[in-house]
């Protein structure tokens, strides 16, 4: 497998929310790497820290959240293969501002509420261009129109002067994408870009993103909890649980050979994967509260294969194959037995 250039490398990312009741460990020791021209999907249940992970890359975690010291988010999109990148966790505001919208851009879940309701769509796109590039207003506007037509909006010269409320959800999401693409980012983070949309629109957006990756080589981080979407667009998948990645693998590998009990449970509980007419598989219980994480494996409570060991300590990285890693005691033991 050819190894693409690394774009970003996240290691030991910990983001805590300092609430009145104590630290809420939204992301606790997360780690992954992203490569050029690849789509990384992050899946996991609601509240498992997908969005927080994405936000921390751009330094958008707001009060009372804090990226804990020691976390590493090394951005390498703008340097050569072997050079050291910039650690976004410790970068200055100035440095991060330069990255945001320019090198790394982001699309959010709710397209309607993520666009400023009182500024025209065109202005919002132009703003991004004007902040990062030395161009005139007219040029920027021209670029905005082009971008809009690229993302498949008909009559873009009209749409630039519209306000977000005049557009439908799907159009807004396309505007968001146009905005995100306006400065040719190396990395596009899409946080549940289609969850709020209908299937037909979702299909449009997904194929747009696919096209994009293929044409510009942008690396995409796609956050979702729909395994169908993952299967269709991702190259690699991270399965997150309670602030941590529990399994990471290329998409085909993951679907054909899921290892972590959580991944398996998740897949079995999907109606589309379940057997016809049968009861669905369920994972009983719910995600642990990030305020009170157990000291053992976070999934131990819900895991059908739980052992005493699981309740005692944190599982470690177990390599199944190249680029297929699992964090689970059971899998670790199985691997040991196998070889």
């Amino acid at each position: 497998m050819s190894v693409n250039k690394k774009v970003i490398k996240v290691e030991d990312l910990r983001v805590y929310f300092h609430t009145k009741k104590g630290d809420s460990k939204a992301v606790d020791g997360n780690h992954f790497t992203m490569y050029e021209n690849e789509t990384l999907a992050i899946v996991g249940e609601s509240g498992c820290g997908k969005s927080v992970t994405a936000m921390s890359i751009l330094g958008l975690v707001s009060e009372p959240g804090e990226i804990m010291p020691g976390s590493q988010i090394v951005y390498m999109g703008n340097v050569d293969r072997d050079e050291d990148g910039l650690n976004l966790a410790t970068a200055t505001d100035e440095q991060i501002r330069h990255i945001r919208g320019n090198e790394i851009s982001m699309i959010f879940q709710e397209p309607m509420s993520s666009l400023n309701p009182v500024i025209t769509v065109g202005d919002q796109i132009m703003e991004n261009i004007l902040t990062h590039e030395e161009v005139s207003k007219e040029e920027a506007k021209q670029r905005a129109i082009e971008l809009l037509s690229e993302v498949g909006i008909s009559r873009p010269e009209k749409v630039v002067d519209n306000y977000p409320f005049q557009l439908s959800g799907g159009m807004c999401q396309r505007v968001m994408i146009a905005m995100a693409l306006s400065c040719h980012p190396k990395l596009l983070i899409a946080d549940e870009p289609t969850t709020a949309l209908d299937v037909t629109i979702q299909a449009q957006i997904l194929s747009l993103m696919n096209k994009l990756k293929n044409e510009t080589g942008t690396s995409i981080m796609l956050i979702t909890h729909d395994l169908g979407v993952v299967a269709q667009v991702a190259d690699n998948v991270n399965v997150m649980y309670a602030g941590k990645v529990v399994e990471t693998a290329p998409v085909e590998e993951l679907f054909s050979n899921p290892k972590h009990p959580y991944t398996i449970g998740l897949m079995n509980s999907m109606p589309s994967l379940a057997e016809e007419g049968k009861r669905l598989n369920t994972i009983e219980g719910s995600v642990p509260n990030p305020l009170y994480l157990p000291k053992g494996c976070y999934f131990a409570d819900r895991c059908p294969y739980v052992t005493d060991r699981c309740k005692e300590g944190q599982p470690v990285d177990t390599k199944i194959k190249s680029r297929h890693h699992v964090w689970c005691f059971k899998v670790e033991e199985e691997m040991k037995q196998e070889g």
């Binding site: 909890h225 998740l266 999907m270 379940a274 719910s286």
Partner: protein
């Protein structure tokens, strides 16, 4: 299936929301949320309703159960026209037909304990008086719905979304209805929780032989739970058939588009998604002719001119398309 008893007949049901305040009058500008829909529902079966956002699924459900007054048409439940019932009679009928709401957060009164939420309809309908019997019944109901009964004095905000949805289901089951409309009961939930709720609903159906109308925009969920599936578009029922029939042999271009757009959870079967262009038009300015014609890849002149009638292309397979049965 034919030998099954019809529990509900919906005939030419319409629900128009006038854009102006006040009552709807013929010819007023309006939102045609439900526009001439006809179907039947049999005892113990689940009818799935799918369609894009705003196509009138919820409105249909609510009009059937008379949360909205229908503009015209009939809803015949157990042989009686629901629309003609007085308020009082309607209240008695409520024991038989129930509703489950989409939003587990706003559908429970934040200021009532679970016990009160569940006991209220029982007391209101005179099934129980306050006392140990009621306590026992409520406890049992909670157990059946997978809620530990010691939670009964908690308030809704102390529960997770899935648990709240269980409360909602328990509430709708409290009166032992024969028919429940489920308006996207799992859309707001995570996959893992979603499956718990779907299982629960299926269990209840088996236990009590309840009929469901199951509204969702997630085609895979509908496929899993339903016996028959109806596809709605802009207030009309575009296609209605047995679930296997509809998924394997869709006859309406819209149904085909919908099914084509489902992302298959199989990375080996990556298809170039069959994308239909455009988005749902607003249901104020409904396109002339076939409602789907502006987005339909197969639209012909006739589609732009004339509204198609509903055809029964196969037994129990209804399509509202000029070219139904030709795909």
């Amino acid at each position: 299936m034919a030998e099954k008893r019809k529990i509900l007949e919906v005939k030419n049901l319409k629900k128009y929301f006038p854009l102006k305040k006040g009552k709807y009058k013929e010819g007023d500008p309006c939102v045609k949320a439900v526009d001439d829909i006809t179907f039947d529902l049999y005892e113990g079966e689940t009818l799935g309703l799918v369609g894009e956002s705003g196509c009138g699924k919820s409105t249909l459900g609510r009009t059937i159960i008379r949360l909205y007054e229908p503009t015209s048409g009939e809803v015949i439940f157990e042989g009686e026209d629901v629309a003609k019932k007085s308020r009082k009679e309607m209240r008695a009928l409520r024991e038989e037909m129930q509703f489950i709401f989409q939003d587990p957060y706003s559908s429970l009164n934040p200021r009532m304990t679970v016990f009160n939420i569940l006991a209220e309809p029982l007391i209101a309908h005179g099934k129980f008086k306050r006392g140990p019997e009621l306590d026992a019944y409520v406890k049992d109901l909670m157990d059946r719905c997978g809620l530990p009964s010691y939670y009964c004095y908690r308030y809704p905000h102390q529960f997770s979304g899935g648990q709240r949805q269980r409360i909602g289901i328990a509430r709708s089951l409290a009166l032992d209805p024969s028919f429940i409309i489920c308006d996207e009961p799992v859309s707001a939930l995570d996959v893992s929780i979603q499956s718990q709720i779907i299982n629960l609903m299926k269990d209840m159906q088996e236990e009590k032989n309840i009929s469901y109308i199951f509204i969702s925009h997630d085609l895979s969920v509908v496929k899993h739970i339903s016996d028959r599936v109806g596809v709605m578009y802009l207030g009309s029922m575009m296609e209605l058939a047995d679930k296997n029939e509809i998924y394997s042999n869709p006859q309406h271009p819209y149904t085909r588009a919908l099914i084509g757009a489902i992302p298959l959870p199989d990375p080996t079967k990556r298809k170039e998604m069959k994308v239909i262009q455009g988005e749902i038009p607003s249901n104020v300015n409904i396109p002339k002719g076939c409602k789907f014609n502006p987005r339909c890849p197969f639209a012909k002149d006739i589609c732009r001119e004339q509204e198609p009638a509903t055809k029964e292309v196969k037994p129990n397979h209804f399509v509202k398309c000029h070219f139904g049965g030709e795909f």
